[in-house]
Each structure stands twice: as C-alpha cells, then as structure tokens.
Symmetry: C2
Subunit: 200 residues, 2 copies
Amino acid sequence: MIRILLAEDQMLVCDALATLLDFEDDMTVIARASDGLAAVREAKRAQPDIALLDVEMPHQGGLDAAEEILQSVPDCKVILLTTFARPGYMQRAIQAGAHGYLLKDGEVEQLAAAIRAVMRGERIFHPALMMAAIASENPLSMRERDVLRGVKNGLTTKELARDLSLSEGTVRNYLSEAISKMNCTSRQDAVRRAESMGWL
Amino acid sequence: MIRILLAEDQMLVCDALATLLDFEDDMTVIARASDGLAAVREAKRAQPDIALLDVEMPHQGGLDAAEEILQSVPDCKVILLTTFARPGYMQRAIQAGAHGYLLKDGEVEQLAAAIRAVMRGERIFHPALMMAAIASENPLSMRERDVLRGVKNGLTTKELARDLSLSEGTVRNYLSEAISKMNCTSRQDAVRRAESMGWL
DNA sequence: CATTTGCAATGACATTTGTCATATCGTGAC
DNA sequence: GTCACGATATGACAAATGTCATTGCAAATG
C-alpha cells in the first residue's frame, strides 16, 4: 500500500484529490497539510512513501518544502503538482532532488500512474517542461536578478542604488538589460516574465 | 437527482470534484467543460439543474459564462467557485443573477450543502465577501477604468490617448487619479490592485 | 437661482525611466 | 602576451510618467 502525504492549500481540492487517491487499490492518503511548513512537519511525523505537494501554497511553498523533506525524510519520494508550467520551477525541483513534477491539467489516471512509477524508482517530469527547461537557461546575470528582485519588492531606482551600493545610472542600466533580455518594455513586465520563467 | 454541469480548466481538479459530487446520493455530474465558452455550450445542450463554474478559466471566465448561462438557460442555477476572495467579482456575480459564490478553501460537505440549498431556492454567498463587497464600492470612474484596462493590455499613454480620443495629458491625469485611489505608486500596481479587488 | 460636487478634459512642469556610449576588470581562447 | 567577451559600473540624454493647477459641464443640494 502506497502511503501518501497530500499538501494542498485549497480544502475542496485537497478533499477531492484525497478521495480519488484513496480509491486506488494500492494507495492511501495518510496525512494532509495546507501549507509548506505543515507539509514538512507531517512528512517527519507520518514518514510517507510519497509526498504530493502543490507548488503554490502559503507560508512556505511546495518547492521549499520539497527541499526540506528530501533532506530530513530520505525514504520519502517527493512529487510536485502545479497549475503553472514554469520550467524554472521544475529546474529547481530537479536540482533539489524531487522525483516528479506534474501539472494539474493532467488526468487522475496519469497522477496514479506517476505515483506508481516513482515508487518503482522512476523519475517523472513533464516532458515538454523538460525541453523548455533545457532550452531556457536563465539569461539574467546576478546583478540583473538583484535589481529585478528590488523592483518586485517595490523599491525605486534610488532605493535600489542605496541598497546595492551602486549609482542610480548603474541600476537603470541593469534594469534596462534585464528588460531587454525578457523582451519587455517595462521593469514590472520584466519582473513578471522572469518570475513566470522561474528565473527570479 | 440534482443534475450538475461542472466547469473547471484543471483536469485533475475537475475529475476529483466530479467524483466527489457523484458520490452524493442525490447528485450526478452530467456534463463537464474546461472553459467558459464550452460551459455555455454544455449548459444549453444538457440543461443542468446546477452549473458549477470555476471563475478563473481560459477563453471565457466563469463570470462571463455565468451571465450567458443565466440569460439562455433560465432554469439553470449558477454557482461560482473560486480560489480568490474578490469582493468585486462576487459583486458582479450577484449583479448577473448568480445563485451562489463559494471559495475553494471550503470543505466538500459545504459545497454539497450549498448545492442543495440553491436547489431549494436559497442564494449562497460567502458571508465575509458579502461584507467586503458592500464595504468596498468601486471608487474608479468609467474613464479611470478605461485607462487602467489599456495599461493592463500593454498600451502606452500615447496609444491610449489615440484609442480613447483623448490627449496624453488627460490619459496621464486619469491614470494618476486611479493610482492615487488604489493607494499605489505606479500604473502597473494600480492595475493589479484594481484587478485583485475585482474592479477591473 | 446660486452653490457645491464629481467627472471629464487639458497642458505645464518636475521627476523617473530606459537607452546608449563608455570604461574597467577578470577570464578564457589563441 | 594579446585579444575577445561578459559582467560590473557610470553618467548624459531623450522619452515617459505622475503631479498639479486649471477649465467646463451636469447633477445635486440648499
């Protein structure tokens, strides 16, 4: 019997998924969590075979929780589940050692099959995202990411210059480079694009 | 037997919810859709008692689909389901004549109970959102919404001025007013805030 | 009828943004 | 050792943004 920890912040979706997984002859949901912190705690307590983690959760997201679970519950295999096809997130998931990364637009049978495959020792990652992740190496330099992060946090060019000990012209130049690399026309658009690619 | 149309773009969530609803003795999911357009089409074809519509769907969202279904399938009662607690969206749902507006962070029993209550003729809206909707009247004028929509669609001040047959100064002034009303410091922030409040 | 208020509309002006040319440094290739 | 390249860093300048003062109009209020 495959023992599953399910982490999903939307109760309705959590209930529904748990019910479906319990339907499978060889699976049972033994623990649930509604955020990353709780997921890590439950993983340690219940020692599940599989941790099925939503990526977008409050307090601590699925990616961070995955990293911690893989560290502290070595026999637990981690599968991430998400709405968004973000190659950068999947890249991070792979680098953290996750065993699977699936999108919610798949069918239940696919989820069950993926869980079984992971139990057999396979790693299941969305093929298209695999290619996208390889194709889309993060083009941003460290400083470009620094300034984009500042913009994301609502800082002005002046404030960024102060925080990073740079001149305003330098900050503007990094932002301009980042805007160009993201194929955008404003710093806010560049932030969103970088985030959606998982580069920030 | 309550006949339900379920519209949800994530297949996994759709499958899971349909299974749970089919579990109820008095309910059956007779049709499914993965976007607003398909939801309207399926509502016309299958004539369900209840249309359960996710708000965030591609092509046409649940709110727009709700309006159309209420127009063209008068015996069908519409319940909207969403992740985001946006008073403005619920306001629109009420104004369109929807019979319910629920959040996905509720439990399955609550959903089933809401469906039964709506069948009995009740209207089920999230109490806290009701208060928030009343408290947060949309402060934006028509023109302010016009210019914010333009910004959301990526238009520059010049392009907006042309599209709306206004001068650039006028467009900037409306944007400035909107930014101020949203308590923001940039037009992009104002767009996001207005959207998150359901005012756009 | 006069006044007030909110909306629609405009342009002047200060500030911010984004582009561009430029310089320095470290690293890798030849 | 020289050269090319990418990253880091800077300031000048044109364009865009946001604020502000202002005007006109319609509707509501006294």
